[in-house]
């Protein structure tokens, strides 16, 4: 999975996206805040939702407690 490394750690792009979600937003907000291409943000956020690091409600992404814990670990 592109958002979690082989040792269970966050990848650099995942870390940037989670940091950008300090304020919840849509994928375009995350792309703008991180400078990552929108396609990559969409793919990354989808993987992080599946991993339980991010949640999606009515089109708005926000970090879960698990995501925050990994970010500060």
């Amino acid at each position: 999975m592109a958002c979690i490394g082989s040792q269970g750690e966050l990848t650099e792009s995942a870390r940037r996206m989670l940091t950008a979600l300090g304020e919840p937003g849509v994928a375009e907000d995350v792309a703008s805040r991180t400078g990552l291409p929108l396609f990559r943000v969409r793919g990354g956020l989808r993987e992080m939702v599946e991993a339980g690091l991010v949640e999606l409600k009515i089109g708005i992404y926000s970090s879960t407690q698990r995501g925050l814990d990994l970010l500060t670990a």
Binding site: M1, L38, F39, R42, G43, R46, E47
Partner: protein
């Protein structure tokens, strides 16, 4: 997957009927076939590119010379394409590990970063969906195909080159410019058109349009052949 035609085929030795998925070529003006694929930038779907233009292109194999020159050429036009709202997405029937090793090798030998993702289509799923394998050339490799998909997911252009012949990436940029000009101004573009040159006013469909066009001040050779500057 709407572009699939599902049929059944008789397995001659066993006498059993098994489902078979046949691919048909994508069609211009139709929705590009949806996919989800493993890439060098993680798992991506076609829908992840919505809102941007996408140039999806296939190459026969990693670590081959013509393909390497093409990747260098695609990397060179990536900034120009990005300025035009276009993303690149490569594909071959190779593993993610092979793609990563090749990208690292290109960096080491040529000093060039490959900035776009590459689909590792080991099971030929996307290649089959898009008709990228030309059995007359090779049954195990994708030919040099280019698919231009617009921001709403419509197939707008397709180019096919044989295994032996590297693509002209300037033509891909020119094609994007022409398509975007058509969308923005409702015009067509003549042979060998480049940005800044005159464009074709679409032919009139009614007598009323013919009369209106003659008064519009276009540069016309005849009623059906008019050009204008933008």
């Amino acid at each position: 997957m709407s572009n699939h035609v599902e049929s059944t085929t008789q397995a001659p030795s066993l006498g059993v009927t098994e489902p078979r998925v046949e691919a048909s070529l994508p069609r211009l003006g139709m929705a590009a076939p949806a996919f989800e694929a493993v890439t060098t930038h993680g798992k991506l779907r076609l829908e992840d590119f919505r809102g941007n233009w996408l140039v999806l292109f296939s190459h026969p194999a990693d670590f081959t010379p013509v393909c390497t020159t093409e990747f260098l050429a695609f990397a060179a036009i990536a900034p120009e394409l990005r300025e035009r709202g276009v993303e690149l997405l490569g594909l071959s029937i190779d593993s993610p590990t092979s793609h990563i090793a090749w990208v690292l090798n290109i960096k080491e030998k040529f000093g060039i970063d490959i900035p776009f993702p590459i689909i590792a289509d080991s099971n030929k799923e996307v290649a089959t969906l898009y008709g990228m394998v030309m059995p007359g050339e090779s049954k195990t490799e994708t030919s040099r195909c280019v698919f231009v998909i617009d921001p709403v997911g419509t197939m707008r252009a397709m180019i096919y080159y044989p295994l032996t012949t590297g693509r002209n990436t300037d033509e891909i940029v020119r094609l994007i410019d022409a398509l975007q000009t058509t969308d923005k101004h409702g015009v067509a573009t003549p042979a060998n058109w480049k940005p800044g040159e005159k464009v074709i006013v679409p032919p009139p469909g009614t007598m009323e349009e013919v009369e209106a066009r003659l008064k519009a001040g276009f540069e016309c050779k005849d009623w059906y052949f008019c050009v204008k500057s933008l």
